[in-house]
């Protein structure tokens, strides 16, 4: 079956089509989470911001003038919500590491490893600019291509490459002791 374009899904979601909106969520939930994480640096905040952003996007769907550029529009909402959330909950000590909710997940040793690695990564990411964090997460975590990132966050492709290069260099320098992981 032909994959529906973002524009088609947006048009159907505007009329309350649950399945179309669900497909938009499925397509961009990971990217939304990554962008939120690049701003908040905390799992729980990123999750909240990403979820809220989808709700805001649905409520303001009629404002998305160019439905083909839904992804860029959504990610701008995610960025703003995440910044607002940080401002709002500045004093809140968030749960930075998602608690394991499944018995089929990794064992305690592995969990400790992941937790420690995540702490190091978070520290390393904090040395990057917000846009560098966003780009490196979208590229290396979500698997988006340079051109996709360029089009969706509205930055020239050459700049995306440049940000990615410096972000990776900085991360590698910070994660020097974890070479087997990077």
């Amino acid at each position: 079956m032909r994959q529906r374009s973002d524009a088609e899904l947006v048009t159907q979601a505007r009329c309350g089509d649950r399945e179309a909106f669900g497909e938009l969520v499925r397509r961009y939930q990971r990217a939304a989470y990554s962008v939120a994480l690049s701003v908040t640096g905390k799992h729980q905040d990123a999750e909240d911001a990403a979820q809220e952003s989808f709700m805001v996007a649905l409520q303001r769907l009629d404002d998305c003038r160019n439905a083909d550029r839904f992804a860029g529009w959504l990610l701008a909402i995610v960025r703003n919500r995440s910044r607002n959330l940080i401002r709002r909950e500045n004093l809140r000590s968030g749960d930075e590491i998602p608690a394991s909710a499944s018995s089929s997940g990794p064992g305690p040793d592995r969990m400790a490893d992941i937790s420690a690695l995540r702490g190091r990564l978070k520290e390393a990411l904090s040395t990057l600019t917000e846009v560098q964090r966003e780009i490196v997460l979208l590229h290396d975590l979500e698997g988006w291509k340079h051109d996709e990132i360029s089009e969706r966050i509205g930055i020239p492709s050459g700049t995306v490459r440049s940000h990615l290069h410096f972000a990776r260099k900085a991360l590698r320098a910070r994660l020097a002791g974890w070479k087997d992981h990077i």
Partner: protein, 128 residues
Amino acid sequence: MEDNDRVTALEAFDPARERPGYWEQFRARILENAAFELARRREAARETVAAVLSGWSRSLIPVAAAAALIASIMIVNEARQQRQPPPRLVLEDMLGGPLGESSFRAALGAGVQSNTAAFLAFVEEDTR
């Protein structure tokens, strides 16, 4: 530099690594929270369709009534014209003037009544 240089350690940030089914639950939560807004949009879309149809009907009904009236007038006129017999063409009309009794007598006397064209030619000649 597309994929070979990926910082794979970043995958540690994927919540699904520790929670299988995380993204399905994430999506389900959003859809659950969106249920009211989606229902509102469905309702608004239905109302919009109804409003468009009723808007059309408001302007369409008078136009249709006027068109029907004009059509019925035209049909009645047509029928009236069809009921009237076509005007008969009399010999005088064909000649452009009345014929005298002598013309008929002369024509009949000349024995040309069997052929209309010959008869007309004779009468025309005779009336000049």
